[in-house]
């Protein structure tokens, strides 16, 4: 506060000087115009970058669309050496890994968020949630590294054979297992999207009015019944937004996935085998590729942008709606 007062004084002293010079409005108006010009001008740099970004990606992808057409989305064979650019294995891998991550992370994340808001003593609330959020700060290359050095051997030796055994060689886990697999990528992504789900659902759950919770408890509902029938439904929109944003993050994650997914470009029904995703494929094959391959990677980038941007916007719309609801 004292800071603000200090800074007001010198400018207040400067104002009368303007007036004394006889130019009462002009300097103010002019400096206002300069002010807005600076603001809009600087923002324009950002706008130009965004437009250039979009135009560059779309422009460079034109040769690929001309060459492959819709085969880029529906074709099943990705083989740049023989100029065959079928993007389906990449798209399927992207969706698979994100789906695995959500299936695992959503129940864990929401229950953890519920615990932070309603079960943990209030003194521990902030430290605990900050701690979980720090998971989001760990660079993705470190997750990739943990995946390669620690988790992949475990998956190869224990987890995947056990899954095959337990599920009776169910088709999702069948075949020769590979440590570097779609399932491992999905598991690594689970860890990476957990903080997003926990932090945003926690905010949504915290906005459920306390009198509703107390109302449920006062008519004899148990704590769990209250949480399940009142708190979580009350935070439904916000939680959906949280999950949607987590999905966007999982769909676009590059390095960690590229390191652990195995880079297998053939469609496989089994999650216990290698796969690839759009982002991982861009990371692994951009350099030294032919012009046509690069163009196809640009086209895949455009598809990836379309997917992540729409999922992202949907999530944010939901979160905005949830926050507005909280204010009413």
């Amino acid at each position: 506060m004292p800071e603000a007062i200090d800074t007001v004084e010198p400018t207040a002293a400067a104002a009368p000087k303007d007036r004394a010079s006889g130019a009462r409005r002009a300097p103010v108006a002019r400096s206002d115009r300069a002010y807005w010009a600076t603001l809009y001008g600087t923002t324009a740099i950002f706008v130009v970058i965004c437009v250039a970004f979009l135009v560059t990606l779309i422009w460079n992808s034109v040769p690929a669309w001309r060459f492959s057409g819709l085969g880029l989305i529906t074709g099943t064979k990705w083989d740049p050496q023989n100029s065959s650019y079928g993007g389906l294995p990449l798209i399927v891998g992207t969706l698979e890994t994100a789906a695995i991550a959500l299936v695992l992370a959503v129940p864990i994340g929401i229950t953890a968020a519920v615990s932070i808001v309603h079960l943990v003593p209030s003194r521990l609330r902030t430290p605990l949630s900050s701690f979980v959020e720090l998971l989001a700060a760990v660079p993705s290359v470190v997750y990739g590294m943990v995946g390669v050095l620690v988790m992949a051997p475990k998956f190869q030796g224990d987890v995947l054979p056990w899954l095959q055994h337990v599920t009776g060689n169910f088709f999702l886990f069948s075949g020769t297992v590979s440590g570097y697999s779609v399932l491992l990528a999905g598991t690594v992504l689970t860890i990476m999207v957990l903080p997003t789900i926990v932090a945003l659902s926690r905010d949504a759950i915290a906005t459920v009015p306390h009198d509703q919770v107390e109302g449920a408890l006062s008519v004899g509902a148990t704590k769990w019944q209250t949480l399940r029938k009142v708190v979580v439904p009350g935070a439904r929109v916000g939680i959906t937004g949280a999950v949607t944003l987590a999905a966007a993050r999982a769909l676009g994650e590059t390095i960690a996935v590229a390191m652990v997914i195995g880079g297998n470009v053939h469609l496989s029904r089994s999650l216990a085998q290698g796969g690839t995703t759009i982002a991982a494929q861009i990371a692994q094959s951009f350099d030294g590729a032919t012009a046509l391959t690069i163009s196809n990677l640009f086209a895949l980038s455009v598809i990836l942008i379309a997917i992540t941007a729409s999922v992202n916007l949907l999530g944010r719309r939901l979160l905005h709606r949830a926050n507005r609801g909280a204010m009413l």
Binding site: V8, T11, T42, F131, L134, V146, G252
Partner: protein, 308 residues
């Protein structure tokens, strides 16, 4: 006496029914509740345990690599006779300092001024910009690398260079800073601004002398948050900075960076020793990133206390 002759009240009957049902199911409901609350607690403990596990892995595998030599030497190639001869990460440390430093210099002014506009103006253009920042923060960061590669490395023939990486990281940082500084500027009490305006100050003066100084802790949060994100990014640098094994302070030459040097250790045909030594690099990187992140949280907590 006459009360007993009245017909039974249906509401009372219903209440009795509800109460008896509730009483009968009480034991079961309490048990289910206890079990499920336990499950909730376990999932939270699981989330916490993951971070503890990752920190444990980094420290237990990484500390042995940290030494003066490791931090001040360039990488060297392990040979059959000397499999542990992996050298150091000086190239990556220097590269990260130069690349991230330049990215900060580019992104922070643009991000803060543009964030000021988001907070101060309210029209269709500004709303469109706000939506754009949201989309940009959610985009896969590798696409920024691909974009900068096409523009700077290929079209403007800059070649692989640290500065290209800085530009990609700056583009990544700008929308993050914009959003966070919009929040910071909006939290400045309007009474302060109005006091300034009522003294005849121009809008620009009020922003420069009142709004920005008051919002400084929040703006610091924004800058630190974006920096902590940028320092750990691998994907946008992947095809831009050349990833050399020698140290260079010149951003127009090929450089390396901490996350890139970790990633390189895992490319095909590289020795297991090098992969193990990546734990050391990761420990350095995560320490830096977590400190920046904690710094941004402290600045945020400070600005919130100031506001009260």
């Amino acid at each position: 006496m006459s009360v007993s002759t009245l017909p039974a009240d249906p509401i009372l009957e219903r209440r009795a029914l509800v109460q008896s049902t509730a009483r009968r199911s009480f034991a079961r409901r309490t048990l289910v509740s206890k079990v499920m609350l336990g499950v909730c607690g376990v999932t939270l403990a699981f989330c916490v345990a993951i971070l503890v596990w990752i920190i444990y892995l980094l420290i237990s595998n990484g500390v042995q690599w940290i030494s003066v030599n490791y931090l001040t030497q360039d990488p060297s190639t392990p040979t059959v006779l000397q499999p542990n001869n992996v050298g150091g990460i000086k190239n990556a440390i220097v590269g990260s300092i130069v690349i991230d430093g330049l990215a900060i210099v580019m992104a922070v002014p643009i991000g803060i001024v543009a964030g000021l506009l988001l907070a101060e103006a309210d029209n269709a253009f500004v709303n469109a910009i706000r939506t754009t920042t949201e989309v940009m923060t959610g985009l896969p960061s590798i696409l920024l690398g691909v974009f900068v590669y096409e523009i700077l490395v290929i079209k403007y023939k800059l070649g692989f260079s640290g500065i290209a990486g800085s530009v990609a990281l700056a583009i990544l940082m700008i929308p993050i800073i914009m959003k966070a500084s919009e929040v910071a500027v909006r939290s400045v009490p309007s009474s302060l601004k109005e006091a300034g305006l009522s003294l005849g100050l121009s809008k620009g003066r009020v922003s420069r002398r009142i709004v920005v100084p008051t919002a400084t802790p929040g703006l610091l949060t924004a800058a630190l948050l974006a920096t902590s994100r940028a320092v750990g990014e691998t994907a946008p640098l992947l095809w831009l900075i050349g990833a050399t094994y020698t140290t260079s302070w010149d951003p127009f030459k090929e450089q390396s960076a901490l996350p890139i040097s970790i990633y390189q250790a895992f490319l095909n045909g590289i020795s297991p020793q090098l992969q193990q030594s990546a734990w050391g690099t990761a420990l350095v990187l995560v320490t830096v990133v977590l400190f920046l992140n904690l710094g941004s949280r402290l600045a945020a907590a400070y600005s919130q206390r100031e506001r009260r």
